[in-house]
């Protein structure tokens, strides 16, 4: 008797818990579904308001507006460039420093480590950094996306601890064969660190793809605005590019077209959604390494 009630109460709990988890999945996926269906809704229909489950009338008209918009496409290009160059520079620069610092024979290592540690504990903050960027000529310059983000203490520590797990014998045998330090790094160490390189590159790439704030602060010229900054201006400041306004007029809209907004959002997040199933396990692995280190 006692046992049966026990089993039944477990059953109720399991059912509720499963439903709750399905609810979490719904809450997580629905916002993206909402963007997708509204981006596919015909602009004429979108004037009547947003749809909640399915498009009233399927149409790719909004996408053709977005893809024909020079500002948006230029933003797409800038974002792609900063993502590739920015993450590559970050991984390479940070990994090379980490390799040097992981060698105990390095003269001055203790001092170098202290210099690096302070950068994690203290920072100048927004205004001093802004002034410095201006003085360095990085204001309104594409390289503001790349150079100030080339190094992070946290990722350097992850690299260092990974490099330590590579057996010394591998490096020594390469040295005996006459390889230089750079030779060992590029031919032995880095090829054996692909897992950690993948994780850090992906984190860096996601950051570069999603960041809109650097563009708001540092960029004035239209032609180097990243996609997310343009999107910020469209959504939060309700500004539309000239091409979009023309397209809107053509559809007879009074308000900035919702479906065009949603199509822009979809274009800006599609790379993340497409790659997500393949990259998510690397991202989680990265957090685990970070959690153990921190």
């Amino acid at each position: 008797m006692k046992r049966r009630t026990g089993l039944r109460s477990i059953g109720v709990f399991e059912v509720c818990n499963t439903l709750l988890m399905l609810g979490v999945c719904f809450l997580t996926l629905y916002p993206m579904w909402f963007v997708l269906i509204n981006s596919l809704n015909a602009p004429e229909q979108a004037l009547l308001g947003t749809v909640n489950w399915f498009p009233e009338q399927l149409s790719l008209a909004s996408y053709s507006v977005v893809f024909n918009d020079k500002t948006m496409m230029n933003g797409f290009l800038i974002t792609t460039l900063r993502t590739i160059i920015g993450s590559a520079a970050h991984v390479l620069f940070t990994a090379i420093i980490a390799y040097g610092l992981s060698k105990t024979t390095l003269i001055g290592r203790k001092v170098y480590m202290k210099v690096a540690l302070v950068t994690m504990l203290f920072s100048g903050g927004l205004i001093p950094t802004f002034i410095l960027m201006t003085k360095l000529g990085l204001y309104d310059n594409f390289w503001v996306f790349v150079i100030p983000g080339m190094y992070s203490f946290f990722n350097m520590v992850i690299f260092m601890s990974f490099f330590r797990t590579i057996p010394d014998s591998l490096e020594e045998s390469a040295k005996v064969d006459g390889a230089s330090d750079y030779g060992v790094l590029f031919r032995i160490v880095l090829p054996n660190s692909m897992a950690v390189i993948a994780t850090i590159s992906l984190f860096s790439a996601v950051y570069h793809w999603n960041d809109y704030y650097q563009g708001v602060i540092y960029i004035r010229s239209q032609d180097i605005l990243p996609l997310q900054t343009i999107l910020y201006k469209i959504i939060a400041e309700n500004s539309m590019s000239f091409m979009q306004q023309q397209a809107m007029a053509q559809f007879g809209a009074r308000l900035p077209g919702n479906s065009i907004k949603f199509a822009s959002m979809m274009v800006a997040t599609l790379p993340i959604l497409l790659f997500y199933p393949f990259i998510q396990r690397y991202l989680v692995k990265g957090v685990m390494i970070g959690a153990i280190k921190g």
């Binding site: 001092v111 302070v118 809109y212 959002m265």
Partner: protein
Amino acid sequence: MFRFRGEQMKAFFRQWQLQSMVIPGIVWMVIFCYLPMFWLVIAFMDYSIAKPMLESPFVGLKHFEAFVSDDRFWRSIRNTLGMSSIKLILGFPIPILFALLLNEIRSLRFKRTVQTISYLPHFIAWTIFGGIALNWLGEGGVINQLMMAIGLQDREILFNSDAKYFWWITFFTDTLKETGWSAIIYIAAISGIDPGLYEAAELDGAGRWQRMWHITVQSIRPTIAILFILAVSGILGSNFEQIFMLKNNMNMKMAESLDLYIYNMGLVSGRHSFSTAVLFARSIVALGLLFMANQTSKKLTGDSIF
């Protein structure tokens, strides 16, 4: 920095390759981390960006006195503390609860699927997530439809144009975006618990909730403590990307956090010295908070960061 004598000098140059890997990094750190720290001294000057720093006159604590007597500064403190407190008190337990409940799911495949889906929003940019939120909260938006359908409202409310809702909007959007991601660290800690403990407890007749409380929660307590310390010490910070996206002229009086105040004063109004003084004061208070939270946690639970 180093005092080289013959032998050491030679050893240093013999490892020029290793040195050439590290030294550019040190130079980078000096330029991009140490120089901005040095630039904090403009908090004590009347600095103008057009002139070299050392030509600006020293003014002592003038800017500190100015912001302490600025009502808008205190308003930004209130907003920051308000949003942080909601996030801390209501928001902090949510990922823990999610991790605990997810752990009770028996099917491994379902568990993994839920987990994978739950941290997707973390990787969606705030521009997009904020864009969705603005649409849902607006006229004819999903939230208004829902509230009217279940009878909690009888007419539409423009949630984002009314300042009184702003703190709650930041709380709900943040919860929706970050719960799954924040739970990862707890899920990892839970997966490290020895299954033998559960079997032993079951033999002793402990029920589901007892096991959850006495084994799972007690085992991940150090993790909870560390994250709590970090959350408390970060109470003067705010999620700038989120607030910057959701703010507008109508909700500014509840939306302007300390970060946004510094941004508005420094970069919009161009009062560089003034907002650097605010930054300076904030870093000192934040450092103090970190030590205080650490000491409190050490006394209460025995767990601490340092």
